[in-house]
Amino acid sequence: MTVFKTFLKVLNKCKFVIILYTVILLTFGAFNMTTSENSTNFVASKPDVLIINNDENVGVTKNLVEYITNNSNNVDVKNNEDAINDALFYREINYIIYIPQNYRQDILDGKNPEIEIKSTGDYQASYAEMLLSRYINIEVIYAKEIKDEDKLIEKINNTLAEQTEIEITSKLDTDSLSKATFYYNFASYSILAGAIYVICLILSSFNETKIRKRTIISSMNYKKHNRILLISNALLAIALWIFYVIISFIIVGKTMFSIQGVIYIVNSFIFTICALTIAFLIANLVNNKNAINGIVNVIALGSSFLCGAFVPVEWLPASVLKVAHILPTYWYIQTNELMKTIEKFDIESLKPVFINMGVIALFTIIFVIITNIISKRKRKIA
């Protein structure tokens, strides 16, 4: 009990760190949880387009503006050039269309006026450009033959109204699943950084030379002392894990009550245990509290950046992902990513999940073995 009480005392001193990493997780979790409606009907992706209309908003010009507005998201940006440029740089807008003066008259005269645009060059912008090109093309073709404005508009709109039938096969609630995946991917950082940092700090407090000497001469068996320390730290890690799981239920909601939810939870548990063994390894290697801070930051940030906890996996270069195979976080995140697409749950489809978990378990065992070897050596020296 003495050991456990001391443990709690030291833990109390570290509570700020735990709060810090939890706040980070919550901030980013909530940041990404902007609700978008899930639907199994087709919803066209809409680019963010801004139209600067220098012409009068009537007739064909009005019709163009309406067509683009209906097929894109309206962005509210202050009408000054700097604000617009900022919005484009930070991708709040993908595409800006500048409708020139006299556009309507030029079209009605059968001319083909040039339109200036600004584009971010990404896929949304490419799609916005497709929308604009299609409209202009149809407009110019008809304008050559039809001189009456109302008839022209009617023709254009009739043509654009041609639609194809569309069928969606997946019944998965992908939106909510990506949220859960994002949350659990990000949690890997909080678990790794939080657990390792706190556990290392606590262990290094117990390992201070004076305190260690006092423990060794006490009547308590050192095996018992170590066992209690191990159990207390495991309890701490598990408490942290339970805490993050509860938050996930609050943030993600009903998706967590599914088979995917169970796998997310089991997966994060295995990962937490792995983080625990990493913490023991580092605590055995390093005793300097300041150095621990540096090492934990490098390990946690490194794993998170390289394995896709911060940046979605599909955006990472292939070479980085290859290197990431040597980190436990990679296997943890792979399982989370799989959850987004698996629809059937049987032995065959869950095989990769089991492999990933097996690899993490293997990492755990390796860390335990290395820790034992190192601590045995250290004891001999002491």
Partner: protein, 395 residues
């Protein structure tokens, strides 16, 4: 005496491994991570060639659907610069399997002369597939429309000998013309991941404050034995403090120079082309960091750990607001509560680099420089007031 103290302050700072790790090595490590993680983002946001399938059934071979087939063939042509698709012609079962395994974004099936698109989920690739199919149908409609129009005109004008073949050909020509005149006037410097590296520079400038703080702590009597010894030395306090601060400012600049060299030559970060202005911004940025360090060291009456904690927390929160943990954060703050980022030194530095990179004019850049100078000036003034006339009867 000035030189003497400067030399030893310099040595003390360089021998402090933890300080050097956080101010020199950590930004470089973080920059490497940024580079590894973000190097591909902007490329993956470009429109890739979309994998699709078309069901190879009897309907596809019909003459009425020749247009659709040809259009997709053209859009899947490897020679075509505007290539959009990689198209496979397969049976319906095979297409379903491909779709299930995410090997294609969707497939097109023509039944009873109507094309139908089957997709798995919503998304941009799916939207484009639907869009292109519709465009092809619309072109067909234009041709029909125009042909009808022309024929009606011919009949109305009393022409009996109508050359249907010619009209049809004319209309096809008109419909296949590319009438789109679009001129892209956007700035070429649009790489928004640069912001990450600018915040990294900002972080390094402000972290440098730890060096200044350590120097001040070493000359404060209430902060330890070294401070007591320094305080009783027969040398004016101004000399001691200014020489130690100069040492830490130079240390800070060395760290920053290493980071610049690394990001420019190894990571290929673009800071714009105006070198003197980049250096000016780095100097003022570091000065802001230094003054922040001095202010924390003087005004916070507590032990060194608390001071370091406060400095790191202020720096990291400032970097968070200027976009280090998510680039859009800077934009959200700039747009909605601009006053916050006008007071935030990390954001002034980041915004300074951003305006050099993205804008042609320098107004915004110099506004940031001025803000940084004012920020540093105020903090230094307050610190000087706090540092003067400290006396201890017993300590």
């Amino acid at each position: 005496m000035f030189i003497h103290n400067f030399k030893y302050a310099f040595k003390t700072l360089f021998r402090n491994k933890m300080l050097i790790f956080w101010t020199f090595a950590f930004p470089i490590i973080l920059g490497t991570f940024f580079n590894l993680a973000f190097s591909n983002i902007e490329n993956s946001e470009k429109l890739d060639i979309i994998n699709i399938a078309i069901i190879d059934n009897e309907d596809l071979k019909l003459d009425e659907n020749k247009g659709i087939k040809e259009a997709f063939e053209q859009l899947s042509d490897e020679q075509n610069e505007d290539r959009l698709f990689y198209t496979q012609y397969v049976s319906e079962e095979k297409a379903k399997e491909l779709l299930e395994n995410d090997e294609i974004s969707g497939y097109l099936i023509i039944e009873e002369n109507k094309p139908k698109t089957v997709i798995k989920t919503n998304g941009i690739n799916e939207t484009i597939l639907k869009y292109v199919t519709e465009q092809i149908m619309q072109t067909t409609k234009i041709v029909e429309d125009l042909a009808t129009e022309k024929i009606t005109k011919e009949i109305q004008s009393g022409n009996i000998k109508i050359d249907y073949q010619k009209i049809y050909q004319d209309v096809l020509d008109i419909a296949s013309q590319d009438n789109v005149k679009i001129k892209n006037i956007s700035n070429t410097n649009l790489s928004y991941t640069m912001i990450e590296f600018y915040t990294l520079i900002a972080m390094t400038c402000l972290y440098g404050g730890i060096l200044g703080m350590t120097s001040i702590n070493n000359s404060l009597a209430n902060m330890g034995e070294v401070g007591k010894r320094t305080s009783v030395a027969p040398i004016s306090k101004g000399k001691v403090i200014i020489s130690s601060l100069l040492a830490s400012y130079i240390t800070q600049l060395i760290g920053l120079a290493i980071l610049f060299a690394y990001t420019i030559f190894a990571l290929k970060i673009d800071y714009g082309t105006n070198l003197p202005l980049i250096i000016l911004l780095s100097l003022t940025g570091s000065l802001a960091g230094l003054s922040l360090g001095i202010a924390v060291a003087t005004l916070v009456k507590s032990n060194e750990n608390v001071k370091t904690g406060i400095l790191i927390a202020v720096t990291m929160f400032g970097c968070f607001l200027s976009g280090m943990m998510g680039i859009t954060m800077k934009y959200i703050v700039d747009k909605n509560i601009p006053i916050v980022n006008k007071l935030n030194p990390a954001s002034m530095i980041t915004d300074g680099f951003y305006s050099l990179y993205y804008y042609d004019t320098f107004d915004r850049y110099f506004f940031n420089i001025a803000s940084l100078l004012i920020f540093s000036g105020i903090l230094i003034l307050i610190s000087v007031r706090g540092l003067r006339r400290q006396k201890y009867d017993s300590i």
